[in-house]
């Protein structure tokens, strides 16, 4: 059974429907203690980081205990951002902190002038991360050169729509997903590119699209709204839970 966490900021119906489509059995726990029955935990979410306030100490404790016991955890969009230490969207709140880094706002900017410098500016990012990031931006800059399209277009925030994945690492959660596959986003804040990043997406600057650290995973896009690619990611997470 997969526990789907309801903290009032989710499109729970959509996520449930998508999980049912890939054969998952899902329950929505009413009390934190019910998480002991979960083989996997999903924290969905859309909207403001402030909504995670509803995940009080009892939930944080119960989720952390299960994760420490090896229970796979998947965060979706806002749910993924909550896995980090904090977010600039609500600096007074703490995230779960199972992934290191701070969530920051995307910058509305001209597409390629800043991408190299912006990436390294976060305090939690290492120089190795910058290399990975600038590598992926070079790739799309090349594609860009061929079309010349985005030089005339501006970067709008929020980032809404279908954008492509650049796969950095072959993690379990992205098995069967091709580099360049497109997924549906709607968000303004992003997690930094770190050693946990499995795939990046670029919107003015590259950001963490898919992350995995052991049995903890996160996706910035909405797998429940990303067609077959999204369902594949959910299937991959289910496989993680069946290996526990």
């Amino acid at each position: 059974m997969i526990a789907l966490i309801d903290y009032g900021a989710g499109n729970l119906t959509s996520v449930k429907k998508a999980l049912a489509a890939v054969g998952a059995e899902v329950f929505v726990p009413v009390r934190p203690e019910e998480l002991t029955a979960a083989r996997g935990i999903i924290v969905p979410g859309v909207g403001h980081f402030g909504a995670t306030r509803a995940l009080g100490d009892a939930w944080v404790g119960a989720i952390r205990t299960r994760v420490d016991e090896g229970c796979p955890l998947l965060g979706i969009c806002l749910g993924m951002q909550w896995l980090y230490e904090s977010s600039d969207e609500a600096p007074e709140l703490k995230g779960l902190g199972v992934l290191l880094g701070r969530v920051v706002r995307l910058k509305p900017a001209a597409p390629y002038e800043n991408s190299g410098t912006v990436v390294g500016s976060g305090s939690s990012r290492t120089s190795a991360d910058q290399e990975g990031a600038s590598g992926s931006s070079r790739t799309s800059a090349d594609q860009e050169g061929a079309s010349g399209f985005s030089r005339t277009s501006t970067i709008k925030i929020p980032h809404v729509g279908w954008n492509s994945l650049a796969i950095v690492r072959d993690d379990a959660v992205i098995a069967g997903v091709a580099s360049g596959a497109q997924v549906y986003y709607t968000h303004s804040y992003v997690a930094p590119i770190t050693s946990d990043t499995a795939a990046t997406t670029e919107h003015g600057e590259p950001f963490a699209a898919i992350v995995q650290r052991g049995h903890v995973a996160g996706v910035q896009f909405h797998p429940e709204k990303s067609g077959d690619v999204g369902l594949q990611v959910l299937r991959n997470f289910l496989l993680l839970t069946s290996n526990v």
């Binding site: 959509s14 799309s140 079309s147 929020p158 809404v160 729509g161 670029e202 067609g227």
Partner: protein
Amino acid sequence: MLSKRIIACLDVRNGQVVKGINFEGLRSAGDPAELARRYNVEGIDELVILDITATIEARRALADTIRAVARELFIPLAVGGGIRTEADAAAAVEAGADKVSLNTAALADPSLITTLAGRYGSQAVLVAIDAKRDHDRFAVYARSGQAPTSRDAVEWAREAESRGAGEILLTSIDRDGTKAGFDCPLTAAVSAAVSIPVIASGGAGTLDHFVEVFTAGRADAALAASIFHFAETSVAALKQHLRNNNVPVRL
């Protein structure tokens, strides 16, 4: 790079798609769920269900339609037409809509935008603007283009954004149904004035019209109904044409 979105609009009345549909081989042409499935297979990026009835019975039928369309569809679904109150929006969301589209109700009470954005997030609130050229400005019309207002489309779009709208669905009344092409100057003016995405609507007749609205019109997405219903054009053919013209799309 962010793809330009192609959105199909289903005008629904009592559970049936009512704009004439002429697809060969589509058995139950008036069934929104079947049409939605077909568009999904062809690669549509998003769907809008527009309820063009307003009775209580129809509202219940709409919820059933949303449920039927959303059941096997894993792409974003917006619902508009007749959403007047928070309760209307809640019914649409509970039935499976990811976004609700406000038009006349937002003009009458702009605070509804903020209320719904607060409850569901801005990404769930589309503000639909029906605009008509009036000398050197674009006048906003309410009630499906029937009632002129004193508002200017560019200013109203800005206000909608500041009140919490996540996207603007901009329809040119002058072009709607004409197949003469989107109103690119209107779309570009609104797109430049806001930082949220702008969906262009009204006037799609040829594949090149879409290229124009994504370049000269600076649209983030384009919505059409009858070009997919009537024309021999499939969503896939349209997207291939856009890609051939260097417009980034999901194929």
